[in-house]
């Protein structure tokens, strides 16, 4: 069973050669823009030199809402940069970083609208847990990455394997979509 899962994870994740238009964070250009193509016709694939501004979603201290904090990244490697910024935490008053200390973002790959984020094992081993903690961690990531229009869903892997859950509650066997309900309305 586990072997099957690992195999399946491998197929969609690290083993697949990254498609040019969807790679990120691996040093390769995330997109190939054909000469003569008008900028703006495909907003989801900015040129490598461009910058993109999205919202990073951090939970409030009460664990009730996710709050968006704008951040700008170079288009090249933007997925990895966004997740690393999220895991680094925030100085914003009233918000907290939900990711456990020491966790590393091993890779972010995007294929067919699904971003697969591979973390180091600290994600599970060092996480405080809790239903609320687990929910906030998963959707701070999913809501942040789905800020990029080309990403619809987010899958979490840990050192290449798909975990059943991060902290024993939330079924992580399928990718997560964006959860608007958790975002604090102004």
């Amino acid at each position: 069973m586990m072997g099957l899962l690992m195999l399946a994870a491998g197929c969609e994740g690290t083993l697949t050669p990254p498609a040019p238009k969807s790679s990120g964070g691996s040093g390769q250009p995330p997109t190939v823009v054909q000469p003569g193509e008008k900028p703006g016709t495909k907003p989801e694939t900015p040129k490598p030199a461009e910058k993109v501004t999205i919202k990073l979603y951090y939970p409030d201290e009460e664990g009730e809402w996710l709050v968006g904090v704008p951040a700008t990244f170079a288009a090249e490697g933007r997925y990895q940069a966004a997740v690393e910024a999220l895991t680094a935490g925030t100085e914003e008053k009233g918000l907290i970083g939900i990711f456990p200390p020491g966790v590393k973002v091993r890779s972010v790959t995007v294929k067919d609208g699904v971003a697969t984020v591979d973390f180091s094992r600290e994600l599970i081993d060092k996480f405080v847990g809790g239903s609320t903690g687990e929910e906030m961690l998963v959707f701070s990531l999913a809501n942040t990455l789905t800020e990029f229009p080309e990403i619809k869903k987010v899958r979490i892997t840990v050192e290449g394997n798909r975990p059943d859950t991060i902290a024993g509650h939330l079924d992580s066997s399928a990718p997560f979509g964006r959860q608007e309900k958790l975002i604090k309305k102004k």
């Binding site: 939970p59 664990g63 009730e64 970083g97 847990g129 059943d164």
Partner: protein, 355 residues
């Protein structure tokens, strides 16, 4: 019928006024006999049940405990004759009381029970039963004075209405190798969820429900410990699936968060049917009413055990183990009892609405 009874009562009092001499001449109560037996409450709690048979109902006062004689329970019977009751009677059940001494002095009879545990509120019960066949020990007397002595304060298990014959699956979250979340002072989620679930089970069973638990002690539910979270959680779902006609699946957890500020009570569900949200809301309302913590409301979430249970299911979060104040509350027996009662009342409301 009510009017007729009222008229009869009025007539009775009128006769009493006309015949004061008869009322004064009532016979002096006399002790006719004594019996004792170790018995059990419906929840299994044992106690020593003593019966003192009397010819008529006496006036009496009960004094117990205190600094001087903490293990003495005194029953003062006014205008009562000792009869031929033995002055010292050895008592059965070494856990409860050692002996009963009886003395007649002046117009009083004093019954003194020497107890094993200090006498305090709830450690004894004194009642009078009048009429035929009131004795539980076949003691022949028109009036029975009953004295029940426990081995400490007895708190009867709470009961709720409307869960009789319901089939309920209880899942104490985590357990065994999986501690669940851990509080700042080291309190483990798995211990709290088990304690509250056992109290909840006792309430439900006392109320007539049939309860199956995924675990009743500190263990992994998957035999020998699972290799993956999915196996362990599926093992819990399987416990419910194996019970025919199970009505609901309720998983008991403590919440946790990275910031110690987060606090309150919440409930999670997965909307398989409309009943899942209804169950979650009923349990949430019950917990908030009894526990008194902040109402975080109900939330839809893809939680494994509620998603894959083939019946209405909810996962309750009692309070935050990562919050200093709530950690202390979660370790408290009284708070655990209140939350268990709140959940049971929530189930009662859910079944009432569904009927």
């Amino acid at each position: 019928m009510r009017r007729f009874t009222g008229a009869m009562t009025a007539l009775f009092f009128a006769l009493l006024c006309l015949l004061p001499a008869v009322a004064l001449a009532a016979p002096v109560p006399q002790i006719l006999g004594f019996k004792q037996k170790v018995m059990k409450e419906t929840d299994g709690t044992p106690y020593l049940h003593c019966e003192i048979g009397l010819s008529a109902a006496p006036q009496y006062t009960v004094k117990g405990g205190g600094l001087l004689h903490p293990k003495r329970l005194l029953i003062d019977l006014t205008e009562t004759s000792l009869g031929d009751l033995d002055s010292e009677i050895g008592l059965k059940g070494k856990k409860f009381a050692q002996q009963l001494e009886s003395v007649e002095a002046g117009a009083h009879t004093y019954l003194t029970f020497t107890t094993v545990s200090p006498v305090e509120d709830g450690s004894y019960r004194v009642t009078i039963a009048e009429g035929k066949d009131k004795s539980q020990l076949k003691l022949k007397a028109p009036v029975i004075l009953m004295v029940d002595i426990f081995d400490g304060p007895y708190k009867p298990v709470d009961r709720v209405n409307g869960v009789k014959d319901r089939v309920i699956i209880l899942d104490p979250g985590h357990g065994g190798l999986d501690t669940g979340a851990i509080g700042p002072d080291g309190l483990m989620e798995k211990d709290v969820t088990l304690a509250v679930s056992l109290k909840l089970r006792d309430i439900l069973v006392a109320s007539g429900a049939s309860v199956t638990m995924t675990r009743e002690d500190d263990r992994d539910v998957f035999p020998g410990g699972a290799q993956t979270d999915g196996q362990e959680l599926q093992a819990r779902v399987d416990v419910g699936a194996a019970v025919p006609d199970a009505d609901i699946f309720v998983s008991v957890h403590c919440d946790a968060f990275t910031s110690p500020k987060a606090n309150g009570t919440g409930t999670f569900y997965y909307p398989k049917t409309w009943q899942d949200a209804a169950l979650a809301q009923a349990l949430q309302d019950g917990m908030v009413a009894r526990g008194g913590r902040r109402d975080r409301g109900i939330k839809e979430a893809r939680f494994y055990v509620v998603r894959y249970s083939d019946m209405p299911a909810a996962l309750v979060e009692l309070a935050f183990i990562t919050n200093y104040i709530e950690q202390a509350m979660l370790a408290d027996d009284e708070f655990q009892r209140n939350l268990a009662l709140g959940i049971a009342e929530g189930m009662s409301d859910f079944f009432a609405a569904r009927r």
